[in-house]
Assembly symmetry: C2
DNA sequence: TCTTGAAAGTTAAACGCTTTACGAAAAAAA
DNA sequence: TTTTTTTCGTAAAGCGTTTAACTTTCAAGA
């Protein structure tokens, strides 16, 4: 026999399929005797109820789509893991879609998830095509944005306080005596707030804001390295580099070490994310930790409350990043600051 | 209106639902005029065919289950990404299940995948409960094992040649002049063959096999560190450590560096996997690369050919690992070899 | 002119569940 | 005993597709 169906169970147990269904879903009103009988037969037949059939009637697939740039990147992998765990706890499975920042893939995957009738979709920063999100909303599929915000759309959102992240990292470097603090920003949305935090921190510590110290790049080791090289080649190079994610920070480290400079004696480096990479590199990386596990929990919670309609108002959840001090930062080496800072 | 169905499309296009279905799936025999009309209406209504409904009739979900220890671990994340890409190319989505080596989770997830009627399941090493695999087979769901073999079961398999991996890494160290080469094995199946390779290489290079140099542990940084410490505390410590995955290798590095020893001057270290970690740590890690992308491709290919019944015989695919030389290995420092080797 | 066959569609059943409305039997109340 | 509840179940419709079998139309061949 092929996979047994509810009919096989019903027949063998001598009851109707409604009864079997009722027992499976524990919809009260069946005698213990019947329940046991049914359960026994299910066991005996190795019957696994088909969730595709039940999804069809229940109009719920208990599945969530996750759209991220790349599951193989440690930060996203850790986030996905958190979602998997929290989702599982609530009875949801996750389908992961890696877009590589590519609009074609975005489109393909959105369409896929819609056809699969996922109950909700979690989209992280790095997603480009806003119109696709509108398509999702039009189909009345709940969406939660993570580390990502779209002003024109009213959506549930979970993010880290990027402004504070930018501010804290910068302030920390300033307190270590660094006067020329460079940043390597990422070409994603969260960068803007981090830059604002950076600028305000500079201001509060009476440091000048020098546009030459601001670079932007895609999140790869190579790009981080290239950008750091540019910074080091400046007439007045920075003594500290704040990279907007750990990958870029590690790329920057490479550039610094390649020149024979020491970290943190000559150059301090701060990353962002606190992915596993930060603990592996040498020296270990001081970085702004994103509370990934909490983000996962909130994202799932937010999404499910929208799916189940328990909360009507959209919510913006803002979590606090935290500075994790490791060995890539230290007091500024003042000798190398050729010129003094105005103000 | 809620999500439009095939009826809505049919009605608006003035055709039967069978026609709409036919056009969607490109089942010949419809005039261009009709096709266009239907396509237009689909577009206009933003109609996304429900794959849950079609799965019910077609008895295919176009979904593959992946069971691994932990998606947040770089090696598995990279592998999952490869599967995602190859699967997508063939029209399959992946549901990832992280078991944490925990039999309860294994059971839960197997049951989940069976209920979801996935078309096939890919199971990696680190899976413990063989009986569960039998349950899967009994349901006639194709299974492919990756880096994992179960003698009692005749299954499709994709692995790396662990024997050669163990041999090559050891031989490389031996050629660098190391006499006392320790190994930190992992508590998974693939270890056995790697150990055999290690032993044979020792033999071929006329080195003694010392049981004290063989340790075993779970794959965490901490465990790697602990095991390496033990090795370094030996009366005759090794001059080279070959760890059976990059995580363990990096843990070992920590222990070595913590003692003030230098890598590779005092101790050489070789890992296994060639995950992203190997390029991040400092010094960068010499490691046996597993051809993850090929493994993903072969696993998907093997699984799909079984799903579609194109290939009847089970196949064992064996891929070759490759030594990637980086900066964690160097010539043996002979001074530190107190005692000479017999033979 | 009549027959055949291909082309273009349609009808209706099936897929494996959930759920609503309803019925019979048993228990409780009168 | 009769009536009313409660308990335990069942029948049947519906979810949105696919598909096998069938019908209609029309051009071509005999």
């Amino acid at each position: 026999m092929q996979q047994p169906t509810i009919y096989d169970v019903a027949k063998k147990a001598g009851v109707s399929i409604a009864t079997v269904s009722g027992v499976i879903n524990n919809n009260g009103k069946y005698s213990n005797k019947t329940k046991e009988k049914v359960l026994d037969v299910m066991e005996e037949l190795k019957y696994y109820p088909s969730s595709v059939a039940s999804s069809l009637t229940a109009k719920r697939t208990q599945t969530i789509g996750l759209i991220i740039p790349d599951i193989s990147s440690p930060f996203y992998a850790e986030f996905a893991r958190s979602l998997e765990d929290w989702g599982d706890e609530k009875g949801y499975s996750i389908i992961i879609c890696s877009t590589d920042y590519n609009e074609k893939k975005e489109k393909k995957y959105v369409s896929l998830l819609l056809r699969r009738r996922v109950d909700g979709i979690i989209i992280s920063s790095g997603f480009n095509n806003v119109d696709l999100i509108k398509d999702i909303i039009q189909q009345e599929i709940p969406v939660v944005l993570v580390a990502y915000n779209i002003d024109s759309l009213q959506l549930n959102t979970v993010s880290v306080d990027d402004y504070r992240g930018g501010y804290q990292a910068t302030a920390y470097l300033a307190e270590l005596g660094h006067k020329r603090i460079a940043i390597i920003t990422e070409t994603v949305q969260s960068s803007a707030e981090r830059i604002r935090g950076y600028q305000n921190a500079l201001n509060d510590y009476h440091l000048i804001y020098d546009e030459n110290l601001l670079t932007e790049s895609r999140a790869t080791f190579e790009e981080g390295e290239i950008q750091a090289e540019k910074l080091l080649n400046l007439e007045e190079p920075p003594t500290a580099i704040f990279a907007f994610n750990d990958i870029l920070a590690i790329g920057a480290m490479r550039a610094v070490l390649k020149r024979g400079l020491k970290i943190p004696e000559d150059i301090s480096i701060v990353g962002f994310d606190n992915s596993v990479l930060a603990t592996i590199c040498n020296p270990t990386l001081t970085t702004m930790a994103q509370p990934l596990n909490d983000m996962g929990k909130e994202a799932i919670g937010s999404l499910i409350s929208e799916i189940e309609g328990t909360v009507k108002r959209k919510q913006r959840i803002l979590l606090l990043p935290e500075l994790v001090k490791r060995h890539s930062t230290g007091p500024a080496n003042l000798k190398s600051n050729k010129r003094e800072v105005k103000n």
